[in-house]
């Protein structure tokens, strides 16, 4: 089947920042993303698990598929939010079906 080149960006960020990140993405023109729950993790700020949390805490993973030419705009928007906070950003090359959607 015909596929089209795209970038898959995965941003793991603290849950209280979720709204700010999606707002920043939307403002940068990224309207497609999927948010996955995260159960636990470990990083420079130590190990944590969802079970050891109270309230709206923990992290979420936001996955965006975008046209390669829009990557930089997305990364800048994301970085502005992630910068001072706990979180990681990774990018992989991908192919998508139905390019008109991205």
């Amino acid at each position: 089947m015909e596929t089209h080149t795209a970038k898959r960006v995965e941003i793991v960020i603290e849950a209280p920042l979720e709204r700010r990140l999606t707002k920043a993405l939307t403002e940068a023109g990224v309207t497609g993303y999927t948010i996955l729950p995260v159960r636990g993790g470990s990083g420079r700020s130590g190990q944590w698990s969802r079970a050891g949390q109270v309230g709206q805490s923990g992290m979420v993973a936001v996955v965006c598929l975008i046209k390669p030419e829009r990557l930089d705009g997305l990364l800048e928007a994301a970085f502005a939010v992630v910068e001072k906070h706990i979180g990681v950003v990774s990018i992989t090359d991908a192919q998508v079906l139905r390019a008109e959607r991205f």
């Binding site: 603290e14 209280p16 700020s45 190990q47 079970a51 109270v54 309230g55 709206q56």
Partner: protein, 325 residues
């Protein structure tokens, strides 16, 4: 003193405190016992709804005292003011950075609703009545402390940027909305409304609180285990000294306003308790540079169990002596 100890002793062998202790012990022993996040959140929604509703019903029954407005103002004042005291104390007693100290201070100005609920339970157990609107005071005290903390940071020039929309978010925080909303529902529907749903919100309340505290124990225990070594003696001492100071200020205000014995105790408990839900979430947004494990461990790992076990009976005993109740 003896009296205080025996009160504390009696308090300690209630199912509520023992459930907390069980959770703490299980977490420290690294048991895999966990309460699913959704269930814990469900229980806290239940507790907030029930406590708000009952508060509203009490107000609808006894009418609005003239002291109501005074007490709310006192609550706001405490929430704004206590962080300043906490901050000064932290600078004195610990080597925490300005930002970490401000973040911790915010927690001690705000309140812990579970500590409040536990205080209510102890009062009920001794048949001491309290003003129903103390729930509204609790809600009023949740957010202002955060503003004080941000001001403390801004004054130091370190940023602590006042994110647009943050205040709105603080005031529309889920637990405040639920507590205040349930309070209004209770106030509007009154005794008749309570009767309709009392076998849901009154009868099983203490039992749910047990399981909820089991979870709090698990979380506090895990927090303590992971943050071993993060905290110095100064910080831990602060987490025990601060509630005593706050309770004393709360006592003074309660007596000045003319609250009942029960109301005074609850104002002391609110002052002495430290937030571990609303404030930590706000700090992640507003002061991301502050270290979460410091403020969570102090608030949830030290002050919360202290209040639950020794603090509440102590505040009650002192208030009884002072008010002669």
């Amino acid at each position: 003193m003896n009296e205080i100890l025996s009160l504390a002793g009696a308090n300690l062998i209630s199912p509520i405190i023992l459930s907390f202790a069980l959770g703490l012990a299980a977490a420290l022993a690294r048991s895999d016992l966990t309460i699913p996040e959704a269930v814990a959140k469900g229980m806290s929604i239940y507790l907030l709804f029930a406590i708000g509703f009952k508060g509203g019903v009490a107000v609808s029954a006894h009418g609005v005292d003239t002291t109501l407005i005074l007490t709310i103002i006192a609550g706001l004042g405490l929430s704004f003011g206590l962080p300043l005291i906490a901050f000064a104390l932290l600078k004195l007693m610990t080597g925490l950075s300005r930002i970490d100290a401000a973040a911790v201070a915010a927690h001690y100005g705000s309140i812990s609703i579970v500590t409040f609920v536990a205080g209510t339970s102890v009062l009920e157990g001794r048949l001491i009545e309290a003003e129903g609107y103390m729930v509204a005071v609790a809600a009023a005290m949740e957010a202002p402390a955060i503003l004080s903390a941000l001001w403390l940071v801004a004054r130091g020039g370190d940023g602590g940027k006042m994110e647009p929309g943050l205040i709105r978010e603080l005031l529309l925080n889920g637990s405040i909305v639920l507590l205040v909303g349930a309070f209004f529902i209770g106030a509007v529907t009154g005794e008749k409304g309570l009767e309709e749903i009392s076998s849901f919100i009154v009868a099983p309340f203490k039992g749910v609180l047990c399981l909820f505290l089991l979870d709090m124990g698990l979380i506090a225990g895990r927090g303590l285990r992971q943050s071993r070594g993060v905290l110095g003696l100064g910080a831990v001492s602060f987490a025990i000294l601060m509630p005593l100071i706050s309770a004393t200020i709360g006592l003074t205000l309660g007596v000045l306003i003319g609250l009942s014995l029960g109301g005074t105790v609850l104002l002391m408990v609110l002052s002495a308790s430290a937030s571990y839900i609303a404030v930590p979430a706000a700090m992640r947004v507003a002061l991301p540079e502050a270290n979460p494990s410091i403020y969570l461990t102090l608030s949830l790992g030290v002050t919360f169990p202290f209040n639950l076990t020794l603090g509440i009976p102590l505040y009650l005993a002192i208030a009884q002596i002072v008010t002669g109740g």
